[in-house]
Symmetry: D2
Subunit: 349 residues, 4 copies
């Protein structure tokens, strides 16, 4: 029986996979058990952020040497979801999701799937929504999850699609997963609603896009029989970037105290912290003008990640938070989602 | 008898003083009662941030028209402490500190003082420390505070001093005020300790510097006889930019709940929220690598303000937080301070 | 009879109008003779560039003190065309266009006009094209120019119009002036051609937009009877940002040598150098990939101004070049225009 | 007998080495003939520019597959000098310097050498000057050049050395090479002159530094017996970033016309264009204030590269110019150098 394990590792720079190399060399992790990688690199998070591609190349070369499989083969079966931009207190890190041997009747499961390659520019439309919905269903099947209600989180990564399309691609990825999870209806999950009808959303979808991605990739986390217990996951909608209560609620629902932050003794149980958010398009946060949008020198998503990331990190107790902007259709308008995965009490990192 | 009042006002852009104009026109505020202005404009906070100068010019023209005094005369008696940079959720705003008529035996007092003009480059040294210490003592006297222990907060603004000197000037301003308050000894408050011996600090000093400032200015807030009651102030050291408990503690000490944030019904009682912080020079926050220092595209202080500001704003309930980087000698190394001023229960904005 | 004079002045920062103050105080310039101001401030040139507004406020206060007219009255009759962004070797400066007494039968003339105030968002459309065309005709009449062929250059400044509209507003300003000059037909000068049909252009129009502008303003320069001689103007299309030959051609046509640059002895005769350009949308310059578009950290127009400005400045001999991006419909696609005004041989600054 | 050949290749992104892969696959270039690589990637050119490391990793993996040598072995014998930052019209590209079979008595020769690995922080001092001087002499010997006067250009790449040290490391690399070439005396080439005594310089040294570099690397180009003819090189000092005449002079000395630019028919003969420059520390260019230094949002070297690169590109005819900032001790103060390598008339790319 598989047990989902998550190794949260530091990187000294975007080409540094030495922490994973150490795990593989010591035998602490079998290279064949790696199912997905989610990480945060220190670029600008935009179209000309090449830190994601650099890290992915470094990772694939390492796994290739360890498994004997070609980098391209690995890239076609292991989703690598990298998000650039560690503004403020955020810390570059990556999480290796592995299916290692374990015991138990039911537990947190992982499933992955890849959509067929998309033609350049074929994003942000009905076709991408359908591709991602199908991939999300395939990832559920891969995890052994039949009921969409048992899915805790779907993480989507899509091609950037070219200038001006990045946020549309993120939106379509989110909409596709939301459709597969039943959080939006087939009638409403249409291309013309993307970035427009923000009341269409799922609070358990996290989507991003990057220039180094050639096809939509989906990672599903949820509860399924046949997986060993030991990890708790909680996902909560955030009403806005300042929704401190929602962040605390997610940590508590994952089995940790948060008063106001996770106590130092419990922090080693944290396996993953993810958040999505968006500069509020009304240009107000809680009724006060913000200046994230329209800043010629500092990209709106960089503003947002720094702020949202700090709020989540303040509760978590450190800056290893996967924060990604572009949260249209992921959580309520102007807000987003926060997700926490923690080891059960008594199990440490 | 004077009563300190604080009007917290929005600005639509750095030249917008219409909210103050409204108060003056309606008679809600007598122009002669203005004692100091502290505000946050939306520039980059660095040497080439001219939003501070633009706001100050706009403000002085308005007050000049209302009082009949020349702008230069006003600038020589009313400290205008502007900090640029409203990264993330921060909101451009300014606070008018006024001494209006009131009743009572003792309350929160304000005092101000200006140092003599400094020669260009004559900052970041023993001379500036001495100038600021003297001005701080003068501001205490102006407020009617004899015992330095009764000072809650000293806010210092100094000339930028030229390229490469800005952070040194901030440090010398902080050291000078710390010396006057008795938080560092005369033996240790020397120029060669600036930016070096970070264990020398005061947790009730906030300092900044700007290219538009020609001489050191000090605003002191503290408790003194002869001032009306009605406002509470609390200042707390922050151990680092993620010190959520310290932020909550400051709000609670100012008479507000913070569980985790100030309840909406109490938010109108908030009069001012100020924070100082610093990108941790060890390049670690809680043991994890941050990337604030050494980012060629995004200034370290912009990173910091976005993160620290969001943590404070999440507790306050909105983004009207005066956050300023360059916190050497203000709170513990790698940390800073947070200050809250609130109206007593029952008094609303 | 009027003589057009141009005083090219330095600024130490965006609030510095001391050079003009000196001219007014010495009597070298009569305050009532000022007809237009064109300048370059050191902001980022985007929506959140407030250096233009700061300079304009400073200028109007100075002229108000000198003329006795209110700043608002002056702003309604003296176009102030400020462009932010002095990237690379560009130098912040401003040019005072004045109509001073002179003698002669025909010479370089100036005319100005203002369109009615536009509602927020009412830019980038047919209405703005019509407004600017009418204002351009009014400016020609003001200069005494009947034949559009006698117009050398029309400089347009328009409201930014809000997020996402800035480049559309620039385009509509350019199209409106091009229509009035007869360089595009009424049938083709339509809103739906803006930023789309780049083959519609005038090579003697320069347009820009800013958040501080409330209505379209036009300055026309051309030859008319009743103005004194003494200034030469030459305007040339640039095929791309590297069109060094076009730049030299403009200087030569204005009566200066350029081999490869203007000789030091002739440089004092230069009165104004203006250029418009655009990051090539094909993402190629001379067949090689450029990276100006899609850079999350550095705005495309900042890239462009630095490059184009340096090419023009290298010929001019210094960095006092008014370079402005957003050149759609101003010169050929991917290119722009360059304009030079010089005093006739024998007349020095 | 060897013939130096230079293949100038485009890259679509910093991980794209497909153009070189094509040359290797077609047999047009023997993998064992590669002696050095000099290239320009599209990052920000600063400490957190990882595009250089990404390109280098991609290149080494490709050459490793082609030669059977490990990437680390290749990195220890083939200098890879990457400079980040293609601001303005600059185009990402790389030049493969190869020693292929040829005939002739004397021609342009290449030699390379590596200094021993430096401890972190051991840069910007006397030790680095000595290391680089020794490596420069070794590179001369490798090329077969006995007389330093026969060296046309020494290209140095050094470790960044950590925060605050990057420009010192560049300076020490330049000083070390200048010492070896006899352009500065041993008495003056000392650590305390670095970045201070700018009158100490060589006009035939180009130096840079990067975080991905672990030891000083030197490439020397010059004339030596035993190499085939066919390439011309010319290097000229630039008095400042606007020194258009110097740029033309370099192209002409390399055998090309430049009136004002290289004619299209001759452009295929260009093999390499390199320039070094520096934001003038006096904050003036030709007597006018520039704003490159002290811009919080846009790094001074990014400003400079955009401007200097455009001036050189305007003469070359396209944006494939290796421009690198940090030119202390390389060319005169406030200026820099420009180098052109071209195939002799009749030989095309």
């Amino acid at each position: 029986m598989p047990r989902l394990t998550i190794h949260r590792l530091p990187m000294a720079h975007p080409g540094d996979v030495s922490a994973l190399a150490g795990l593989l060399e010591s035998g602490a992790l079998a290279p064949g058990s790696v199912r997905a990688v989610i990480g945060k690199t220190e670029g600008n998070g935009g179209l000309n952020d090449f830190t994601r591609g650099f890290f992915t190349q470094s990772l694939l070369h390492l796994l290739s040497a360890a498994t004997g499989e070609a980098p391209g083969t690995l890239a076609a079966r292991i989703p690598c979801v990298l998000s650039g931009g560690t503004e403020g207190v955020l810390s570059p890190h990556y999480m290796i999701f592995a299916a290692e041997p374990g015991d138990g009747a039911e537990g947190l499961a992982i499933g992955t799937a890849f959509a067929p390659p998309a033609a350049p520019g074929d994003v942000g439309n009905d076709a991408q929504i359908a591709r991602v919905a199908a991939a999300t269903r395939a990832a559920m099947a891969d995890a052994g999850i039949e009921n969409p209600a048992r899915v805790a989180l779907a993480q989507v990564k899509s091609p950037a699609g070219g200038p001006g399309l990045l946020l549309r691609s993120v939106a379509a990825g989110a909409m596709g997963a939301a459709l597969a999870l039943g959080d939006v209806s087939a009638a409403s999950a249409r291309g013309d609603a993307l970035l427009e009808d923000l009341d269409l959303f799922s609070s358990r979808v996290s989507a991003s896009a990057g220039v180094e991605v050639l096809r939509d990739e989906v990672v599903v986390l949820g509860h399924a029989p046949g997986w060993a217990p030991g990890l708790s996951i909680a996902v909560r909608p955030m009403a806005d970037a300042l929704d401190l209560a929602a962040v605390q609620s997610a940590f508590r629902a994952a089995g940790l105290e948060a008063d106001p932050d996770v106590p130092p003794g419990q922090r080693p149980r944290i396996r993953a912290v993810l958040a999505k958010g968006e500069p509020d398009r009304t240009r107000l946060v809680r009724g006060q003008r913000h200046t994230m949008i329209g800043d010629t020198d500092l990209d709106a998503q960089r503003h947002l990640r720094a702020a949202l990331g700090a709020v989540v990190a303040a509760v978590a107790g450190d800056g290893r938070v996967f924060v990604s902007g572009g949260a249209a259709h992921q959580g309520p308008p102007g807000g987003g989602i926060v997700a926490v995965i923690a080891a059960s009490s008594g199990e440490d990192a």
